[in-house]
């Protein structure tokens, strides 16, 4: 018998490629995860900058810094950048990094599609930024003064920037759908031998449900904005009452996407908490099966209660009653999740490293946001609160702790795994406290502003609202600037150095799961031979 002789290079392990092509052509889940996370970080700062401009303008009554249309455009862009640019890509980044490691798969099921889903994002972000920039040029038309809900008829009337926004939404949708399909296929068919669905890590479960939600709701938004595009340019009247259309139909289409979107943003962070809390309480997650059930219930009910965002449009009594009851019902599975987290902590040997601080903060503040949500779910109350700053305070209390703090917890929890370096715990804790205090100073006073009657999306306000607005703006500056410390911590941890400890394979004493069995940082290829799960 004769065999060819392998050269050293052939025998050597297939390592990471180098140079810019590594990132452009990457099909490696870890590289694509890193790209998602870096993209989200850039968008976080862009979205944060627009928020700080909004709060700078609202520091005092009157119009000081920007004109009303630009103000409304900033409100629109802040929401879109944060939701589509920062939170969703960051959650997708965590998914890309962690899902294959957690289920013992060598990579995502469809690696080339994974590359495509990421690289659509910068194109979409460019479109989104162009939608903001175009009105500054001659012939660029008016600013997008609709808010992120882009309701017609206003959205039919604004300038060409709306077309850029519509295409940006299409591209973002394509990216999300491709990523979701990839995640579903990976989780269904690439789990390690012995890992049944009910043995799957909770983070993977949350992403499976999130991906299902995305697949169901994104085409509806895509259809809605396409109809809007047709109304704008091709003479149709889908949303024009004068032509026999119905502007309220767009609201239904938008919120059929928009409400489940809240759970799309929320669930990955719930998944992160399901790992962080058991690790730092040194106890297994309380009620794994009930958590899975609760999550499925949240997703299912969440799909059919979208019109609670539209109580004031004049629905029938039966319809508003249905949407009210359905919305309040969601508090049951959500409450179950929160109680499971508390029960996991109960009598645990708890320590409070940065991820755990964020986890505890989330439970407290997200519950607070949930309670104001129950207030808003009640129709007669909502008639008063609708379109007031109370709603702004509510959804920031839901989405900041529920989604963003969860992502911070995830980043601090897995950063040692990704980089091989333990971040500076002292700085991590400092970031947590500045961040949380800044957040509460910003948004807590907005409850009172809303209850006292201050409307949202208005550049000017009555002088009676000045004190709380000053406080809120000061808080926003603290909150916004605290993210520079986060950036510093991340860069410092990536670069490593003598001041930082090295992380072993298992970065946290109480951590459990397959992801902690590979090196920190993991090799370019991991789990080439699938582990056996008992």
């Amino acid at each position: 018998m004769s065999t060819t002789t392998m050269t050293h290079d052939e025998a050597h392990h297939h390592g990471a490629p180098t140079g810019w092509k590594r990132w452009l052509y990457s099909t490696n889940h870890k590289d694509i995860g890193t790209l998602y996370l870096l993209f989200a970080l850039v968008m976080l700062f862009l979205g944060g900058a627009s928020a700080m401009m909004i709060r700078a303008e609202l520091f005092m009554p009157g119009i000081q810094l920007i004109d009303p249309d630009l103000y409304n455009n900033l409100v629109t862009n802040h929401a879109l950048l944060m939701i589509f640019g920062a939170v969703m890509p960051a959650a997708a980044g965590l998914a890309n990094w962690m899902i294959p490691l957690m289920i013992g798969a060598p990579d995502m099921a469809l690696p080339r599609m994974n590359n495509l889903s990421f690289w659509i994002l910068p194109a979409a972000a460019t479109m989104l930024i162009l939608s903001f920039v175009v009105p500054f040029f001659p012939g660029g038309g008016t600013q997008i003064n609709t808010g992120w809900t882009i309701y017609p008829p206003l959205s039919v009337q604004v300038g060409m920037s709306m077309d850029f926004l519509i295409f940006a939404i299409h591209l973002l949708g394509v990216s999300s759908v491709l990523a979701s399909i990839n995640i579903i296929v990976t989780l269904l068919n690439m789990r390690a031998p012995g890992m049944t669905l009910m043995k799957m890590p909770m983070f993977c479960w949350t992403w499976l449900v999130t991906a299902f939600l995305l697949i169901l709701v994104v085409p509806v938004l895509a259809g809605g904005v396409t109809m809007l595009l047709f109304d704008r340019h091709f003479g149709t009247s889908f949303f024009d009452a004068a032509g026999g259309g119905d502007p309220v139909l767009f609201q239904h289409l938008f919120w059929f996407f928009g409400h489940p979107e809240v759970y799309i943003l929320l669930l990955p962070s719930i998944g992160v908490l399901s790992h962080v809390i058991p690790t730092f309480a040194r106890k297994p997650l309380f009620g794994y099966r009930s958590m899975v059930g609760a999550m499925l219930a949240v997703a299912t009910i969440g799909m059919v209660v979208w019109a609670h965002h539209q109580y004031t449009i004049g629905m029938s009594l039966g319809a508003v009653t249905y949407f009210m009851v359905g919305t309040i019902l969601i508090s049951i599975p959500v409450g179950l999740m929160v109680f499971n987290f508390i029960a996991t902590m109960w009598r645990g040997a708890m320590t409070f490293e940065t991820p755990m601080l964020f986890a505890v903060g989330i439970i407290l503040m997200f519950t607070f946001g949930g309670l104001s949500g129950v207030m808003l779910a009640v129709v007669p109350a909502d008639m008063q609160y609708h379109d007031s700053m109370f709603v702004v305070a509510h959804f920031h209390y839901v989405l900041m702790p529920g989604a963003v703090f969860g992502l911070f917890a995830g980043v601090f929890y897995w950063l040692p795994k990704w980089t091989g370096n333990m971040y500076d715990e002292r700085l991590g804790k400092l970031f947590f406290w500045i961040n949380v205090i800044g957040f509460n100073i910003t948004f807590f006073p907005q409850h009172f502003l809303g209850l006292a009657g201050m409307p949202r999306r208005i550049i000017d306000y009555n002088v009676m609202f000045t004190e709380f607005n000053v406080l809120s703006s000061i808080g926003a500056m603290i909150f916004g600037l605290s993210h520079l410390l986060f950036l510093y911590i991340v860069i410092q941890t990536i670069r490593g150095g003598k001041s930082l400890k090295r992380s072993g394979a298992k970065s946290w004493e109480g951590a459990k799961g397959l992801e902690w069995e590979v090196d920190s940082p993991p090799a370019f290829h991991t789990w080439e031979t699938a582990p056996q799960i008992k």
């Binding site: 004769s2 297939h14 060598p106 491709l178 169901l216 085409p219 109809m227 289409l253 031979t529």
Partner: protein
């Protein structure tokens, strides 16, 4: 991924190569059907409300989803068997041994062919007298290298 060493009757040693898969084809079809049914429900409901323009989007999405599930299903059903006896080496490709080849053991070449681009995986081929069969294309790079080494040592 899996490379299983089998004790095949009549063979000195046999290697079964197959990708790891966690769901059976029927279960994958069921998952696809559940998502498809939910998507169909959403499409019908909103189309009846006048938003028929969501049909192309849900349709396209369903096509991509079904294609992804089908490709993954097809990929994970691959199976290759390499049997080695005293004088010959047999390869069977496919679940029903759709392609079967045999080579004289003494002349067998095991070659890892480097791809033109460094990033592409190497190809593992075995054969002799100008006739070669590629095996383990679905394996990971290190697994393929290990398999090549194992085959060489077995054949010595």
């Amino acid at each position: 991924m899996a490379v299983l060493e089998l004790h095949s009757p009549g063979a000195e040693v046999a290697y079964l190569l197959q990708p790891n898969r966690s769901l059976k084809s029927g279960q994958i079809c069921l998952a696809g059907a559940v998502i498809g049914a939910a998507l169909l429900g959403v499409t019908i409901y909103f189309s009846m409300q006048g938003a028929w323009m969501i049909i192309p989007f849900t349709g396209l999405e369903a096509i991509v989803l079904v294609t992804a599930l089908y490709l993954q299903c097809k990929w994970s059903k691959q199976q290759q068997l390499v049997e080695i006896d005293d004088t010959r080496v047999y390869t069977s490709i496919g679940r029903n041994a759709d392609e079967r080849s045999s080579f004289p053991r003494g002349w067998l070449k095991v070659a890892l062919i480097k791809a033109p681009c460094d990033w592409h995986p190497k190809r593992l081929v075995i054969g002799s007298h100008g006739r070669f069969v590629e095996i383990g294309a679905f394996l990971e790079e290190s697994e393929r290298e290990r398999l090549a080494a194992t085959l060489r040592s077995t054949l010595q």
